[in-house]
Each structure stands twice: as structure tokens, then as C-alpha cells.
Amino acid sequence: MRRLIPWSYPMRSLFRRWQAALFSALGIAMTVAVLCGVFALRDGFAVFMAETGSDDVVVYLRPGATSEGESGITLRKVQRYVNTRPEIAKDENGAPLAAGESYLALFLDKADGVGRVNVPIRGVEDASFAIHGKDFWMVDGRRFTPGANEIIVGQPISTRIKNCKKGDTLIVNTTPFEVVGVFEHTGAYRSEIWGDVERIAGALERPVRQRVVARMKPGTDVEQLREDLKTDKELPSKVQTEREYFLSQTNVLGGVLTVLGVLLTSILGIAAVLGATNTMLAAVGARMHEIGILRSVGYGGPAILIAFLVEAVLVGLVGGILGALIVLPLDGLETGTMNWNTFTETTFAFRVDPPLLGVAVGVAVLLGLVGGILPAWRASRMKPVDAIRRG
């Protein structure tokens, strides 16, 4: 007789031994919670950085530089880019939408007094605002006046860093700058301080700019541009779109978090599987009598195997749902973590999205299933008579 045991059987068995089932489900839940926690941090960071960049904005760096901090472009060359590059778009007055920006990560004290972090300060030109368009907006105060010792700070910076509230004075090297406004940006610039490039470069005694950023004319072939400028005589450059640039700044932290997440999950997963196996073994042990009866009324070994596997999967499912519930509150929670590519602190939110929750539940079910294999196999191999007698 090839019949399956009704679905209600594993379900009811689970409820009858709910304590043991709950504990092993909790073990699984913690495992997937750890996985999701680490990945939510990684995804939050990666998505944040990826969404930041625009495909229409081009970033020119010095060849070899892997980030702005390593790059250097002389003022003469900045002028050359702005005035001669044909791919750079113009505004309604015919002025090129391009800016030479200076960039340096400053040592600044945290507002809560525990430690110092590296906060990027960016010297920008008028054109910079036009280039970033509506991804950038002021939330408080006003923009800095060109030529004045004034700065504006990203929203998270104003709360996390000392002397960065509106009205405060921040000393850059030896020059005091007044904080006149707080801005917000959809991406990475929100973790920065902005000021007039002339004033910032002057205060830092750094005459060289770090990058040229520009809005490209529609239809520009970036690949071609990249190739052309790589070996250009006048302006050898490393060309990336803004999105590519930001993505290239995520690989170290992203890699570290991926390795950490996978490593922790595999190790913890082993522990969770052992726990699930224990629970299911006990379940099989306690139900030998029942198994014997099921066998003798005609259910075959495979049917028993499936019934117990279903039970194990249910344990995993409960664990997965519990794990998802544990990490769900993390979604949207803001945190500051050092970007290992630039050594600067980046503020972004954990991201717990449906695909991640799906992975969590999937892994949990898998852990339950693996934990159920041995006990289910044992149960399916019992001889009916033995099982009834021994139970």
C-alpha cells in the first residue's frame, strides 16, 4: 500500500511535544538571526552605496588611485577637464557641469565623546550642487556662501560628530569654519562635510584637488571614454561613473561581512542541526509504539520517513519565522560603520528586505530538514513488531 500519512499527523506530534520542538526551533532561529543580522548590515551598506551613485555622473581620478583619498589632480589639469572634455554636459547658461573637488578624511571627535572617527570633508564648487541635482537637499539652515569660511554638514554628521550642529564652529587644521546648514543626500554624501573648495583646500594647505566630477551628456559611451582616457597624453585618468565609483568602495567591508556571515552561519548551523536531530530523535524514541502501529496498519517505510521529515521541516519553519521576527526590528535602524576601503565612517541603515527574510526561512527549513534526516531514517527502518513491543 503506497499511502502517505495525513499531514495533520506531524503537525499534531509537534504540538504534543511543543517544549522540545520550541527549543530546537529557537536554536535554528538564533542561527538565522545571526545570518540575517550580518547580511542586513552588508546589504544595507551595499544597497546604500549602490543607490547613491548616478549613471549619468562621471568621476575622474588619477590613474592607479583606488579611492579619492589616494588621488591627486593639479588645478591646471582640473581646468583642462572642465574646459575641454567634450562629454561634459552644459547648463542652460552654457557653463560646464563639472567641478574639481578636494577631499580629505578628517579626524573628528564623536559627539558622545567615545573615540575619534574619520569624517570626509569635501571642498565643492557651485557646479557640484547642480551635478547632484535633486538627490541633495537642505534640511536646515542654508548653503555656505562661496568664499566664506562656512560649511554644511550631512544630517547624521550633525548628530554624531562634535562641533557639527548648526551654529557651531569647527576648526579645520587652524581655520575656524561656521556650520551654517544641515543637508541630506540619498547616498554616501550624507556622511560628509561640505564647504567651498577654495576655502577648504586653503585651510588644509592642500593645493591639489582629488577628483573631477561632471554630469555627462546623454548617450556618452562610458566604456569608450574609459579606454580613451586611460592612456591619454594630456589627461591620463581613471574614469568611472559615480555608481561604479561608490560600488568599488564597498568590496572590502562587503567581503568581510559576507565571509563573517557565511562562516558564523555554517558553524552555528552545525550546532542547530545537532539540536534539531536531538529533538527529532527524542520524538522518534517516544513514539516507537505509534510508529509500530502505523507500520502494522500498512504505512510503508517511505511514508514514515516523509512524516518525520515533514515534522522536522515544520520545526525549521517555526525557527525561520522566529528568526525573521528577531531581525525584523533591525530594518531601518541607523548605524555607523567604518568603510574599510576609505577608513571613513559611513552612516546607513540595516536593510532587512523580503529576499533576505526568504533566505532566512529557507536556511531554517534546510537546517530542520538536515536535522531530521537521521531520526526519520531510523524511524522508517523499524520493524513493526519490534517497534510495538519496544515502545
Binding site: A20, S24, G72, N173, T174, L268, A286, T337, E345
Partner: protein, 389 residues
Amino acid sequence: MSLSLLARRQAGGHPMRTLLTVGAATVAIFLFCFLRSIVTSLDAAVEASASNRIITGSAVSLFQSLPSAYMGQIEAIEGVESVSRFTWFGGRYQSEENFFAQFGCDPETLMQQYPELLLPDAQKRAWVRDRRGAIIGQGLADQYGWKIGDTIPLIGTIYPRVDGSDWEFTVCGIYRSAKPNLDEVTMYFHWEYMDRVLEEGGSYGPRGTSVFVVKLADGFTGEEVSTAIDAYYSGGPQRTRTQTEAAFQAGFVSMLGNLPTFLGMLGTAVLIAILFGVVNTMTIAARERVRSMGILKSLGFPNRIPVRLYLMESTGIVLLGGGLGMLLANLTQDPLRAAFGTYIPVYHVTQDTYVMAALICIAIGFAAGAWPAWRASRLRAAESIRRGV
């Protein structure tokens, strides 16, 4: 029959279950040791720092170099015995992914200031003589298979050569370190050579020095000399911040921000998970043993006996698993150190970690045994014999 023997027999009565729980405990305690060691290893460099060295860097930014002229001025400050220059090079080997720390430095002063840098005399002399020479840590030599006499080509990122070629350095020596404040995954080469190339226009990049390492003269404290140096440059052109070596190292750890906290949270989650696992096992065990506990009671054993039995069993299981976990943590130190490379160069499991792990095992064992023990102590003999089928 002693109580501990009975506890052992009980645990042995279900070998598979006990084994699985021991395995889970092993895994969890290993993870705990691993996560905690990441944090303690980051701190190790801070703790081992020398007290007779202070480090002068830019007060403005980690990435801002100081003018090289500062060297002579610092040497003239009272309490300074010697000054050496260190410049972060930031080169990559073959491709952007192969990254390790490289510094341009003053070889002779470096070796005099850092007695913990262990290098055979012949290699020391060879390095001082060879302008393009470099020394590398044993860890780097192992990782890339470099030997003395090899040429290491590096791609400049901050200092790209104008003609697009690689920088080339000759391995003159392979050093070991006597203390965890000096890692074995760094390359040191001649500052003068790099500066010469920059001066001749052979490379892009800022001239200058990332930090000056100052060795204090006898009888001077780090604090007074630091204050003197920083006061000298308080008006610019680049303000300095001089710190003890320990504070300088601690600055790097604090830059990691909330990473140590994050690892701590993960560690806690791991321990909670294992607690669930052991509680689970003990609950299952207790359920099956209601009857035997009833028998013990009806034989006249007092309540504390089943309580002790359960506590002993669960603590024993966790301690056994935990012991294996600690052993595993101990044995995996070398491969993990190699895997961490530049990021955590001195990965090491400290004695404190083992002690903490052992205490946690006992605590988890007690917590997990407590519930079934409490239940067992409340059972009435007759009822439990009847109930326990």
C-alpha cells in the same frame, strides 16, 4: 555507587544524544573564543606598545602627510633621543586585491628604535646598504612565497610612477617580531629612495612623512615631550597630534567603530543558541527519566540527589563540549592568523578567553540543568513511577 558515576551513566545511556549536545557545545564555545579573540587581538597591539616611543602625526587627518622638515625641528626638542620617518605607501602587488602595509622608513633608526624587530645582523647590514632594499615580515614571506633576493613589484596608488611602471624593491631581509605591537605582515623600505624618486619627478603623490616616531631620552615622559612637540606646531602649517604608541594603536581600533560591539552581540547570540540546545537536551532527558527519579526517591534519597544529578550531567556535557571547543580554538590559531592577514595580524586566543569560556560553560550547564532539576525535586515518588512509562 557515587553520584558522579550515576550522572555519567545517565549521560551515556543515550550516547547519540549526549554526543550531539557535546558537539553543539564544542561549536558554540569555539565560536565564542573566535569572536572574542578578534576583539582581544585588536587590543593586543595596544597593550604591548612601548612606553619609550611616541608618535607624531597630523592632528587633522590620518591621510595628511607632514612636511619632512619637521624631522630636524622635532630632533631639537628637549627629551627627544631619536626621530624616524614613516610614510604610508599604499601599493598593491600585481592587482588591486593584493594589499598589505608598506612603509618608507629610516632603516637604521627604525632598527635602533624597535628592539622587538628581530633581523639577523647580516640582513640588517644588507638592507642598510641597498637603496632599493626592503625587509618583509615572516607572515608576508609565507603568504606570497618571497625569499631573500626576490624583487617585489608594487603598483603605486598614492604614488603611481609617471611612466606607468611598477615600483621595484629587493628583499634584503625577513623579520620576526618579539611582541604583538609589531606585526609580521608589513614591508619596510628606504624613505630616502622614495623621496628621491618623487623629487626627480618619477612618481606622482605628495612628498612628506605620514608619521614621525620619536624615541624618548631617559628621564622624560611621553606626556611632556608630546605637549612640547604639539605646542611647537600649534600655529601650523600642519598641526600635529603626538600620542603614546598605545594611544596611537588604540586610535585604529576605535576607528573600527561599532565592530567590536557587533561581534559581542553575535557572540551573545551564539551563547543563547547553545543554551537553548542544552536546555533542550536536558528537558528531553528529564522527561524520559521521570520514572528513575521516582525510584531514587522511593528508595529514600533526598530531593537534592536528583537535583545534583541533573546539574552534574548538564554541566559535564557542556564542559566536555566546551573543552573541545577551546582546544579547537587553540589549534586553529595559526591558520586563522594567516587568513586574517593584514587585518588582524596578531590573532591569538588569550588565557582570559579560555577562563571566560570555562566559566560560561559552567553557567550554561547550571542554567540548563536547573529546570529539569527543579521539576524532579518537586515530583512525588509514587506519581512519577506511575507516570513515567
